[in-house]
Point group: C2
Chain length 206, copies 2
DNA sequence: CAGTAAACATACATACGTGTATGAATAAAT
DNA sequence: ATTTATTCATACACGTATGTATGTTTACTG
């Protein structure tokens, strides 16, 4: 095939990323073949190998280029909650996070892929390490945020910050799981927000 | 190879189920090959095809023969919570459920596999339907139980039964996810119970 | 105590996924 | 304008997973 312009190359790159993310989400990482990715992107495997050297490399690209730019600011805010009214800032960031999932499909998919990394465990050690690092990062960020909330006296009495953080993470994982299921009709407004609202109300002082 | 006794046949059957469940959990359904299952069970693929006609059939067997007998009584109790002190009965069943995960590995694995069914979606329609049915069943059982709790006046004021049920399911999924991750060291006593305890306390009247 | 059928191993045919090597056509460089 | 380099398709080689056909031994059956 003929050579394309640089802009065209970028387009195929994005198409490959998009296709891979959607296929990983809907069929899982292992079940998705390079042929399927290429076909969905409107190219062949030849194009794929021009951009990536393996399937694992795509996940890392999805994370770093698509999800990270959205997550980074939220993460930073959570790690540095203000001394005054940290609960308010916390709620705000959580809402940003949920809106992210609602609006930007690729971020939800990336998060989902990370959360379901065990699917590919054992067979690709390096990738598992990459994914588990991300997982642990989420945990740390949440624990840190809740610790701050506790220090600022914004947690209800008897609420253990670590337990609260874990509970939050569980709910987050469960909700994303639900939201991206191939069947069912998940609706954030109806099935997502109220649950978080209730959980935050049960944990935070106002 | 020589013919075995009926008891021996049953042993290989169980060995295949056990092997498959553990491999599905640790590597995922798609990534697990029939050779791996057979090898882990100490037989060859010839034996596998004597008992099952495909990989999908194994999941259904795992569910129906291994997990269902444990779940059924809990499910029935949740669907028929007593009029007086339903909250107490509910707590008790949830504890039974969690103990099940803690003690009986195959139940946890079965639950996990069901919860992560999207991994195999799209490619095996029939299996996806089977799995999604189970998923929806969980949801219904929980919603029914919380509805009963609400009617009996056992939910705290302002708690929507459906939202509470969803939140519970999210936490359950998230916890199982966490518990069966290949990395990390999940401990039910430390990471499971307290979260449920807190959640139930925030939802139920005592 | 034959004869049969069952339980499982072995071997084979087929399909498919991956990765690489090659080639064509044209954008970019000089 | 010519050359070079690049983007991607095509073709090939290899490994591996599946499913089936066949064979072997022995438990079961009458």
């Amino acid at each position: 095939m003929a050579r394309k312009t640089k802009a065209d190359k970028e387009k195929t790159y994005q198409a490959l990323i998009e296709a891979a993310a959607e296929l990983f989400r809907s069929q899982g990482f292992t079940a998705t073949t390079l042929n399927e990715i290429a076909e969905r992107a409107g190219v062949t495997r030849g194009a794929f190998y021009g951009h990536f050297s393996s399937k694992s490399e795509v996940i890392q690209a999805i994370w770093e280029e698509q999800a990270l730019p959205f997550f980074e600011p939220i993460k930073d805010t959570l790690l540095n909650l203000p001394q005054d009214k940290p609960a308010e800032a916390f709620r705000q960031q959580i809402n940003s996070l949920l809106e992210l999932f609602e609006d930007n499909n690729i971020v939800g998919r990336a998060f989902f892929i990370i959360m379901h990394n065990m699917e590919i465990s054992d067979k690709d050690k390096e990738l598992v390490e990459f994914l588990s690092d991300k997982y642990k990062l989420y945990e740390q960020v949440l624990c840190c945020a809740y610790k701050k909330l506790g220090e600022a006296g914004n947690l209800k009495q008897g609420v253990n910050p670590d337990h609260a953080a874990m509970g939050f993470l569980y709910i987050l994982i469960g909700m994303i799981n639900m939201a991206l299921l191939p069947f069912g009709d998940f609706d954030y407004e109806r099935d997502g927000y109220p649950v978080f609202e209730h959980y935050l109300n049960s944990v935070l002082m106002d």
